[in-house]
């Protein structure tokens, strides 16, 4: 799960003592924002979105007065940032920036360990940084790194050329960043920029204000592990990958698995723009992915995605079948899965899917112009496919049914060819394949 900046700052930076600018969060201009701008003599107003490159999108605004702040809050809340609607704005204290570093902790499949990435060239889009100026330091998978290890890294990236006076303090800050990454069970904690800022602070002995340098996190990009010991949803609430609201069919499908843990039939989503004209009933993670991919490659446009598995009972298959077939605008149906180890084909297809088709026919809701291709293997496949074929015949359904003799990814190509021949289907421009 990706966190918004204000969530990451409020929960993670505060907990692990990572220095950050003071801020307030708002969704509309209010007295709190006005007071904050008055006190600080200005502020930076930032859109809370999950996409990057906010600055380029004009979603970060520098304001000097209360009036400017109020306008910035309203303007940002009303804009789309690379297509995404801000959930709030963060009004932050301005920083006196001396240098901008890049700092991230993530996992590397090269070393199969956490890796700390540092660069003195932060502040810009990370992929724009000169690769020779950005260094990855693998570390052992342990809760902490020692500050001396960080000091070695900082020397290696040239930090001490200008900022040697705060080397020790900087190493403590970055060690805290690592501790925060580990402790919050993140997959990614990225700070860009991690800035060297000039701050005024009261000298402990003399009581006078003096200027010192410190490292301060001016941004937060955090991806938490969805498999974390404490599920991120429990802390931050459910979060959809889409910016649109769920469709009725997606909501209905979610309910299928809610109260019944036998198998999984309710993972159903539609493309973000809700397009597509091929109803997809696919099984298993890898099998589903490879089937969907072949569809796009063959010029077919999937209208939904499913990932059914774990031997769901017939009632669950009945429900998801009706949902899949109710998507408006579909022209073909692809029922496609590999060779199941456990999922009963007579139950899932021979009973669940068959009952759904029979009922739709009885209710006058079955579109007989649809073209079907079925490919499935697994326990009781002979019986399952025979029952489905009988159902096709009594309901006048046009289709072809294969067992695991047919390689799984030939099924989408066969459906494509049938649709082109019988319904004049116009393939998407990605189409290249032939059977």
């Amino acid at each position: 799960m990706n966190l918004y900046e204000h969530e990451a700052v409020a929960t993670i930076y505060r907990k692990y003592g990572i220095s950050h600018p003071r801020f307030v969060v708002a969704t509309e201009p209010n007295e709190e924002v006005a007071a904050f701008v008055r006190e600080n003599g200005g502020a930076v107003v930032k859109a809370m979105v999950l996409v990057g490159k906010r600055g380029k999108a004009g979603a970060v605004k520098l304001v000097k007065t209360e009036a400017e702040a109020a306008k910035a809050v309203t303007d940002i809340m009303n804009m789309l940032v690379w297509g995404e609607k801000p959930v709030a704005v963060m009004v932050c204290e301005k920083a006196d920036i001396q240098a901008e570093m890049y700092c991230a902790v993530t996992y590397s499949t090269e070393t199969r360990s956490p890796v700390i990435t540092l660069s003195m060239d932060g502040g810009m889009d990370v992929e724009a940084i000169d690769p020779s100026r950005i260094i990855n330091f693998p570390v052992d998978a342990r809760p902490e790194v020692e500050p001396y290890q960080i000091r070695d890294m900082l020397v290696a990236i040239g930090f001490t050329r200008k900022y040697g006076e705060i080397l020790r303090q900087a190493s403590l800050t970055i060690a805290s960043v690592y501790k925060a990454f580990w402790g919050s069970e993140a997959r990614l904690l990225e700070i860009n920029p991690l800035a060297v800022v000039k701050v005024a602070r009261k000298d402990r002995k003399t009581g006078e204000m003096v200027e010192t340098l410190e490292l301060r996190a001016l941004d937060a990009v955090v991806t938490l592990d969805d498999d974390a010991t404490v599920a991120p949803q429990k802390i931050y609430g459910e979060r959809s990958a889409y910016t649109r609201e769920s469709t009725r069919r997606e909501v209905d499908a979610l309910l299928i698995d809610r109260d019944d843990h036998r198998g999984k039939a309710g993972s159903y989503v539609e493309p973000e723009d809700m397009s597509g004209d091929i109803a997809m009933m696919t099984f298993g993670g890898g099998g589903s992915a490879v089937t969907i991919e072949t569809c796009y490659d063959a010029g077919l446009r999937p209208a939904n995605f499913t990932d059914i598995g774990g031997n769901p009972p017939a009632e669950k298959m009945y429900k998801i079948s009706r949902i899949i077939l109710s998507k408006p605008g579909i022209k073909g149906v692809l029922v496609c899965g590999g060779t199941a180890s456990n999922t009963r084909i007579d139950v899932t297809l021979g009973e669940g899917l068959v009952n759904a088709i029979d009922d739709l026919a009885r209710e006058g809701k079955l579109d007989r112009d649809l073209i079907w291709v079925v490919r499935r293997g697994g326990p009781e496949v002979e019986k399952g496919l025979r029952l489905l074929a009988e159902c096709f015949q009594r309901n006048g359904i046009k289709g072809r049914i294969f067992d695991s003799e047919l390689p799984i990814t030939q099924a989408p190509l066969i459906l494509r060819d049938l649709l082109v021949e019988h319904r004049g289907y116009v393939c998407g421009d990605t189409a290249q394949a032939s059977v």
């Binding site: 902790v105 996992y107 499949t109 090269e110 199969r112 360990s113 890796v115 990435t117 990370v126 992929e127 950005i134 990855n136 998978a141 997959r187 990614l188 990009v221 592990d225 969805d226 498999d227 010991t229 099984f283 298993g284 993670g285 890898g286 099998g287 992915a289 490879v290 969907i292 991919e293 072949t294 796009y296 490659d297 899965g337 060779t339 199941a340 180890s341 456990n342 073209i371 293997g377 697994g378 326990p379 496919l385 025979r386 489905l388 074929a389 096709f392 359904i397 289709g399 072809r400 049914i401 294969f402 695991s404 003799e405 047919l406 390689p407 799984i408 990814t409 030939q410 049938l418 019988h422």
Partner: protein
């Protein structure tokens, strides 16, 4: 006889054995290959038995005291207990561990990898489907109750991140005349205990192996590491590869992430993996479609050891159009 992952000396202990899925796997596996599973562990259920005759212990230590030849742990515990179970296996001197459990926290996976590396232990998974070696045995549910339809003996090794496609691929090969030496699901977790490249030295050295069929997915650098091993001459036998996930690259809104893109610059995308593999050596073919894997194996000159049961054109079982 058999690869290091599973051979005639393998004695399996199933951790979390009394759970619903694990106990079914124990019974089915003992029907197929009697005696391969030596014992099970479920803390608090020591002294019980899974029918017909697999004894359950409270700890691996207790089980090893009864049967010192136990050398492989098969892990079926919930995600939050995986690290504990693997460390118990390593601490008791077991040399191979299969983690079937899905959704292991990535932090635990990284700790497991470090501990296994330091102890010289081979961990496969998380999210492994298991391993099947025809005529020798199986680890996990791979192949179901009756694997004979999908898995036949031969010389091709199938290594797959996707569990479902492990068996589906072995069956596709079998129908076109190619049996498998073994098939293993290594899982698609970001931190994998065992990668393609980790197994390649052994595959190169083992004369039973005629070819490698690898199924990869978008993300991480394990497929690229396999390509590097080939390019370095560590693996020279025929290699047919399919990499899933290329379509995502053209989909709007799919992001490959910030630091991930930097840490593994130029790696991770399906197209990166395909390019790296195709350029790695003369004995490598990258399948455009998944079903082209068999054609790749044939192009590379791998001789079938079984009759071709289907040919290239397959007739439907039933047709109403």
């Amino acid at each position: 006889m058999g690869p290091s992952l599973l051979n005639e000396n393998t004695r399996i202990i199933v951790i979390g054995a009394t759970g619903r899925e694990a106990s079914q796997v124990v019974r089915e596996s003992e029907d197929l290959f009697p005696g391969r599973i030596a014992a099970g562990v479920t803390p608090g259920k020591g002294g019980t038995t899974i029918e017909p005759n697999v004894p359950i212990f409270n700890t691996i230590k207790e089980a090893k005291a009864q049967d010192p030849r136990i050398n492989l742990a098969l892990i079926y515990v919930p995600p939050s207990s995986v690290k504990d179970a693997v460390l118990e296996a390593i601490g008791n001197g077991l040399k191979t561990v299969f983690v079937i459990t899905e959704h292991t926290p990535i932090r635990d996976a990284a700790e497991i990898y470090l501990a296994a590396k330091n102890a010289g232990v081979r961990v496969v998974g998380g999210t492994s489907l298991g391993c099947f070696v025809p005529n020798v045995g199986r680890i996990g549910a791979i192949g179901g109750k009756d694997p004979s339809g999908a898995l036949a003996a031969g010389g091709v090794v199938v290594i797959s991140k996707s569990g479902g496609l492990t068996v589906t691929t072995a069956e596709m090969l079998k129908r076109r005349g190619h049996g498998v030496y073994f098939a293993v699901g290594i899982g698609g977790d970001m931190i994998a205990g065992t990668t393609y490249a980790d197994l390649m030295d052994e595959l190169q050295a083992d004369p039973h192996v005629t070819a490698l069929c690898m199924l990869g997915e978008v993300g991480g650098a394990y497929e690229e590491q396999a390509a590097e091993a080939v390019a370095a001459g560590r693996f020279t036998k025929p290699l047919a590869a399919f990499i899933g996930g290329e379509f995502q690259e053209n989909q709007e809104g799919v992001s490959f992430g910030h630091a991930g893109a930097v840490v593994e610059r130029g790696k991770g995308k399906a197209s990166d993996k395909k390019t790296a593999l195709a350029a790695a050596g003369r004995n490598v073919r990258v399948a455009r479609y998944y079903h082209n894997l068999v054609d790749c194996i044939e192009e590379l000159g791998v001789k079938p050891n079984l009759p071709d049961a289907t040919g290239r054109v397959v007739q439907p079982k039933y047709a109403t159009i």
